[in-house]
């Protein structure tokens, strides 16, 4: 085998602590397997790639070692170079002399030589391989029916792909359906959302499962098998005409979660008039009639005969090629910030509650009234960063609070022109198109008073609330008597995210949001191929950004599904049947269900991720990962320990 070594300077990233020319010289000297070695400033650049291609041809190389950055950066790039040069792309090894060497050592030359020689040893025992091709199901699962899930589903369906949309609650629409108006244009949130919901419900390519959750997923990119658990609605969607007669006769009254408990609903209810699917639903926790002996009033009056108390939970199985997770966010549980008095005082509310109060379809019918006595508040204090940017609660900035607070303050002033609005803030962050202009208007035209500082305490005196804080610009202590206090609460991942993560085998970041494959370049992908993320579950973001990201995720899915097949790395486990004793250790341990033992172990190459757990646990060494075999690692270790390749005259030990 003729092996060529190419060492990258990576500008000064590598060459500042590694003597690159010495690496080039010594790998040739210390290993007889290396027939050519050279260096270049940026191997990943176009001229760098051309150089490799030319040298492969000129020197008649059939295997290549690139000593550069991590293989996760450019292995693909260099594989393509080998392919272009006409040699097998799996006769390539990357020696990571940047992340694992130059960046962490003051003088990494000796280690860089060892790493490169080790890669030479490894590549000299690599097999020529061909990528594995697998067909894909032209169908996508979207989890979460908020604006992110709706956008992604519509984009995919309109491009000709089948979509399964799974939503936990009885209707799609998510948080956006609860909002009053959106910044910075003051579009009515429901007015722009509901047409999308309707067109989704009418789209034949989208199958919608509400009151459903994904409970199990197996398979792999292009071929996922999904188990969905659908809770009973007790109302047959297709039959319900939304006449509302059932609601009138229902005797049970409970707080309405759509209005954040600021109004009441019956045990049979529709979350809001434009809900999709357009159907009533029975809340089994409060309904008396699931035992019809006690109450059956709704069933009696239902002319459409849509009510079925005997509906059962269903498990639905679907096969899809890709998955988009768009499960959104929740507000930080503000009762955890005790000093602001939430939960103690009715007139301390969170931002989403205030959205409902401001909404023309909300519990107060579009007039501003405070919860305790229904009076119109004459003075409202907003407290920004309630939970966010606070080492006791959330370290991160929730990003949307500054803007929604400004909007809410403006809407309040529009509805109560004689009222006063105060905003306590740490910083006001208005990065976004038209956002800063909007904020200026709120301050200058609407006369909302911004106070830089934190609130230390909220307490009640008489009918009103006293907000104590400090204006850090003047250094003065402030006491404001307010009728209503609105907490601009931060954004957190929704409950159940941990569970979803373990079902999907994807990762969370340190704040609990879902982790993207690369923060800059792969913001909608996860490290599990075929699973994508978008919207606030990836991190706090507003509607504009959510929609853009949802479209991005949808387009990434289209790219995957429209190819009809996906290529997979052929770095998979392989069984040497001669040595297999069918002990079933591999089958017991394989996390992907890729190994089955009949007479001997058999590997399903489409399922195998090449993780090597089977190889490590196989007692007889019968199962190994292609191009990652034990003998390869033995030689690699030899080189790493001795700093040179093993001479043939050296005995490897006892003659056994």
């Amino acid at each position: 085998m003729r092996i060529g070594v190419f060492v990258c300077h990576c500008g000064r990233n590598i060459s500042s602590t590694v003597d690159v020319s010495r690496v080039v010289r010594e790998v040739s000297e210390r290993s007889r397997k290396v027939v050519f070695s050279t260096d270049y400033k940026y191997l990943c650049s176009d001229p760098g790639q051309k150089l490799i291609e030319e040298k492969i041809k000129e020197e008649n190389l059939d295997a290549v070692v690139i000593a550069a950055c991590s293989p996760s950066m450019h292995e693909e790039t260099f594989r393509r170079v080998l392919k272009r040069a006409g040699i097998n792309e799996y006769l390539l090894e990357i020696a990571n002399i940047r992340e694992q060497c130059s960046w962490v050592h003051e003088d990494g030359t000796e280690k860089a030589i060892a790493l490169t020689l080790a890669a030479v040893e490894k590549v000299s025992r690599n097999e020529k391989l061909k990528p594995i091709k697998i067909g894909v199901k032209r169908k996508c699962l979207v989890i979460g029916g908020g604006i992110a899930g709706i956008t992604a589903s519509l984009d995919l369906a309109n491009s000709g792909f089948e979509v399964i949309l799974v939503e936990k609650s009885p209707t799609i629409g998510g948080k956006m359906a609860q909002l009053s108006e959106t910044f910075p244009t003051l579009d009515c949130s429901q007015c722009i959302l509901t047409p999308l919901m309707v067109s989704l419900s009418r789209n034949d390519r989208i199958k919608l499962y509400t009151m459903s959750e994904v409970v199990e997923i197996d398979g792999y990119v292009g071929n996922f098998r999904v188990k969905i658990k659908k809770k009973p609605r007790y109302v047959i969607e297709e039959k319900c005409t939304v006449c509302g007669e059932c609601e009138k006769v229902c005797p049970v009254i409970v707080p309405n979660e759509f209005d954040r408990g600021l109004s009441y609903r019956k045990a049979i209810y529709i979350p809001f008039p434009q809900a999709v699917p357009s159907s009533y639903v029975i809340d089994p926790n409060s309904c008396l009639g699931l035992n019809p002996v006690v109450c059956g009033k709704c069933k009696e009056v239902c002319e459409a005969d849509a009510i079925d108390y005997h509906m059962r939970e269903e498990t639905i199985e679907e096969e899809v090629g890709a998955i988009i997770v768009a499960t959104g966010y929740e507000l930080f549980p503000k009762d955890r910030i005790g000093e602001y008095g939430y939960g103690t005082y009715e007139d301390v509310i969170d931002a989403l509650e205030f959205e409902r109060i401001l909404s023309s379809t909300g519990p107060t019918g579009g007039t501003v009234k405070r919860p305790s006595d229904g009076r119109t508040p004459k003075r409202v204090v907003f407290i920004q960063c309630a939970g966010s940017r606070d080492e006791n609660y959330l370290e991160y900035c929730s990003k949307i609070c500054c803007m929604y607070t400004a909007k809410q303050a403006m809407l309040y002033k529009h509805l109560v022109p004689e009222g006063e609005a105060y905003v306590f803030y740490i910083d006001v962050r208005t990065a976004g198109k038209g956002y800063e202009e909007f904020f200026r208007r709120v301050q200058e035209e609407e006369g909302v008073i911004y106070i830089r500082g934190k609130v230390s305490r909220v307490y009640r005196e008489g009918e009103n609330l006293i907000v104590e804080g400090v204006d850090t610009l003047t250094g003065k202590k402030l006491t404001i008597e307010a009728d209503l206090v609105v907490l601009s609460t931060g954004v957190v991942p929704p409950e159940g995210t941990e569970n979803l993560v373990s079902v999907l085998k994807i990762q969370q970041d340190q704040s609990g949001f879902l982790k993207e494959a690369h923060p800059k370049l792969k913001p909608t992908e996860t490290l599990t191929k075929g699973i994508f993320i978008c919207g606030a579950i990836q991190g706090p973001k507003d509607i504009t950004e959510t929609v853009s990201q949802a479209k991005g995720a949808a387009s990434a899915v289209m790219e995957l599904l429209s190819m009809g097949e996906v290529e997979r790395d052929p770095i998979v486990a392989r069984v040497n049947e001669e040595y297999c004793v069918a002990c079933k250790t591999c089958e017991s341990l394989c996390p992907f269900g890729a190994v089955k033992v009949r007479d001997k172990a058999e590997v399903n190459e489409a399922l195998c991720e090449g993780c090597g757990i089977c190889a490590a646990s196989c007692p007889t060494g019968a199962i190994e990962v292609v191009n990652n075999k034990f003998d390869q690692f033995e030689e690699v270790l030899e080189v790493l320990i001795n700093g040179r390749e093993k001479l043939e005259t050296e005995n490897s030990g006892l003659p056994l």
């Binding site: 069918a582 089958e587 341990l589 007692p619 007889t620």
Partner: protein, 310 residues
């Protein structure tokens, strides 16, 4: 007539006894077709008799090299032997006496002889080597017949070939298979070891003699051990302890089984344990890991704490 000598080093003489396990007619044939020139266990042979011999067609050496005397005897054996055989696990890998390599020689001597050793040494006790080693550490070996003791069928087969002059190429004379291949126990679909059961422990009676030991939490080295023994221990409801040495295709017998057991141990419950808790549990579950995983092979893989040349 072909000449044979049987002698040994640090050995329990179990290998000698194994020769006597040959069926009567075979034993008779053996003695009638070869001339046994030295076999101190069974005959009135003295070392001088051995030294007086010229070339010997077959020398079977059992036991590892513990003392200077063993070493000298082995070197003579090599000089005289047309064919030198490492008979049994001790000669092949060091065997059970090799576990002593975990300790420094001084500590071993002090433990056995107290302060008396200096007085005794050189006169009545042969000078010990720093570490016990398999015979291949000193001389070239033609055939290995591993096992503690080697299966009688293997010995018989080997002697047949020797007499007929039809021996295969040099190396391990044995089966290219594992003990698992010869074991009839049922292997369950899903294996996970929550608790390691020790031989003779109080729940030992619960062990199902039809089901794989490992799946029941008993450390059994069958999968990593060369076959040929017809799983004789397992059939007596006793797990394999690896006396036949590493199975074909395996470099390190102990490391292999350790890696398998580490993968299977607490497969489900480890997710909820911290690293420290796992470490504690493993220490509790696996008592004497070296004795368990390298019972017969320690010197073959590891010379000792002060080994420099390995």
């Amino acid at each position: 007539m072909k000449k044979i000598a049987i002698l040994g080093g640090a050995s329990c003489s179990g290998c000698d006894v194994a020769l006597f396990d040959l069926p009567g007619d075979e034993l008779e044939r053996f003695f009638s077709e070869v001339e046994v020139v030295f076999w101190s266990t069974t005959m009135d042979s003295r070392i001088e008799d051995f030294e007086a011999q010229g070339k010997i067609d077959l020398v079977m050496f059992h036991g590892g090299i513990r003392t200077e005397e063993h070493r000298k005897l082995l070197i003579q054996a090599r000089e005289k032997a047309e064919i030198l055989v490492a008979l049994g696990s001790c000669a092949s890998f060091g065997g059970i006496p090799g576990i002593a390599n975990l300790f420094e020689l001084d500590a071993i001597l002090k433990d056995i002889y107290g302060d008396e050793f200096t007085k005794l040494s050189g006169e009545r006790i042969p000078k010990p080597e720093e570490r016990l080693k398999p015979i291949s550490s000193y001389v070239e070996v033609d055939y290995y017949l591993p096992g503690c003791p080697p299966p009688v069928e293997t010995i018989s087969e080997f002697l047949d070939h020797f007499i007929l002059g039809s021996l295969p190429p040099r190396g391990i004379f044995g089966k290219e298979s594992t003990v698992c291949d010869e074991c009839d126990r049922i292997k369950p679909e899903d294996i996970s070891i929550e608790e390691v059961k020790r031989i003779g422990s109080k729940d030992w009676s619960e062990i199902d003699p039809k089901v794989c030991f490992l799946a029941q939490g008993v450390v059994c080295l069958g999968a990593v051990t060369r076959g040929g023994c017809k799983a004789r221990c397992i059939n007596a409801n006793f797990p394999c302890r690896g006396c036949m040495g590493p199975a074909p295709n395996i470099r390190d017998q102990g490391a292999r089984i350790l890696s398998e057991i580490a993968s299977l141990l607490m497969k489900e419950s480890e997710k909820n344990l911290s690293d420290e808790e796992i470490y504690e549990r493993v220490q509790k579950e696996i008592v004497d890991p070296v004795g368990l995983f390298y019972r017969y092979t320690l010197p073959h893989y590891w010379g000792g704490s002060n080994e420099e040349d390995d």
